[in-house]
């Protein structure tokens, strides 16, 4: 085949919706928020630790099209609730 290139048909890239595997980002984000708030209000250390884990999972699976602010707000909430709970009651998680 002769040269297939056609400069006149060249177009810039426009993001397209693609068929992708299932993503659990939104669910993990909501669960993380709930854990962090419950941990902070009821001073439950294990809940704040779960909030931190959810924030890290969400951060790792975030897409470039997702909202960056959402990601950092969850991370900040989880870490701050963990710090607050330990400052109020510095005893370890399992106090035997």
């Amino acid at each position: 085949m002769s040269n297939p290139k056609r400069a006149e048909r060249a177009k810039r890239f426009v993001p397209v919706s693609l068929v992708e595997g299932p993503s659990y980002g939104e669910h993990i984000n909501a669960i993380g928020m709930v854990f962090s708030l419950v941990g902070l209000l009821m001073r439950l250390k294990w809940a704040t630790w779960c909030g931190v884990y959810c924030a890290i999972f969400y951060f790792a699976n975030v897409k470039s099209t997702d909202d960056k602010k959402q990601t950092f707000s969850l991370l900040m909430l989880a870490v701050s609730s963990l710090v607050m709970v330990y400052m109020q009651n510095p005893t370890p998680l399992i106090d035997s």
């Binding site: 297939p4 177009k11 993001p15 397209v16 693609l18 595997g21 999972f57 897409k63 370890p92 998680l93």
Partner: protein, 452 residues
Amino acid sequence: FLLVFLFSCTSGGAKKVVEDDFDEFEFEFESNEDEEEVEKVPPKDADDFDAEQDESEDDDDEEARDDSDSSDTDDEFDTEEFETPSEGEDTLKSGKEASDLKIEESAVTIKPFFEAYLVEICICLGIALYISNYLLGRTKNTNIAEGWMVHNLPILHSQFVLVGDDGEGEEPTQNHVVRRSENSFTVWASGRINCDGLLVHLELMKRHDLIHVILGLFRPVPDTISFIFQCADGDMDSVITAICPRKTATKMSKEYEDLSKYCSGIRSGEKHNLPSSLSVISETFDSAISVLSGGVAKFLSNHADMLLSLHVTDQYTGLKEEGEESETVTIKKGEKRIHLTFKLPSDLDQTTELLDFALKLLDHVKHIRLSREAKDKATKNRQLVVQEQEKLQHQQRQEAAQQRKEEKKKAEKEKMLEETDADKVRKWEEKEYKKQMKKSQTKMKQMKVRMG
């Protein structure tokens, strides 16, 4: 003055008492000092102890006799009052008392840091493990995407004018792999005959997510590569055909809107010189034959284990909307698309072969010309679908108008209920009555005309 005097007496008296008390203490101190001296004497064995005890008892008796002789004269010091315990007993008693003492265990046992915060340390180790796996997995995925780009760049540059644009900025970038997420990458190429552009989509395993890595041990998920050609109007005839493994055929025929609307059945691949592990979904038999001719069937037979799906369509509208029919039916204009998805081979050299085949398929589809019957059937199908959608839209418009009318009537009624002026209310009721009479009369007229 009396009070002051009394106060001074009592405090003075108290002092005396205290002094007296202190005297005793002094006395005791002195005696304690004596005892200390005694204690310094090296400890003796038990036998000596008993022997000494007998001697001390004899001494006591003698003392008692001496004392009685001199008691008459010295009333002040009555020996019986001041029983000075003998040395052995004193230490023996304190020894016994000491052993009776039970040392209570203190309520708070202070543990070392690591032992106390063991759970927290394990949790932090879990986080550290996740983060290190994240970094490793991310670099591995990036290397695979970059590796694919390096291997296929010469072919892309030979076929397309623009390769690797990320769509940002004024000037198009070159050779850029767009990262959609840590395991999803795309490469855009444009400027070629027969298509508007090619989007290569690499969806890799989620190596950066520890949970998916663990799940992958039980249910492995392959890396996949998709070639998505966006074609213009003149680039394709009215063809809708899909070829995929038998396991996913039913799911695919239901998932994609164009396949579920235009294609009726799923045929086995054997009818089209394909292995039985593949299935064919197409609008007409003719369109499947035309797509699979020209070496396409042969290539697919050789790579049947790698093929995930081949979808050629001129009415692409994406996946079917989940759940009930969406509230508003919008007529989506179908796009002309070719989707080709393979499992990504671990050896990146093999990937150039797949890109070559995709480009050949593009040129092959351009030259497909359906037979007259197939063409007529295809156009009729498209018209039917368009009519159906228009009917749905019309129905929805009517429902919306009906709803608006009812809301208006309800608002008017509520307004009248709140109205205080009786005349207005009566007039409104009369108007309503007339409307209803008019409606019932028109029905009667229709009846008479029929009778006549």
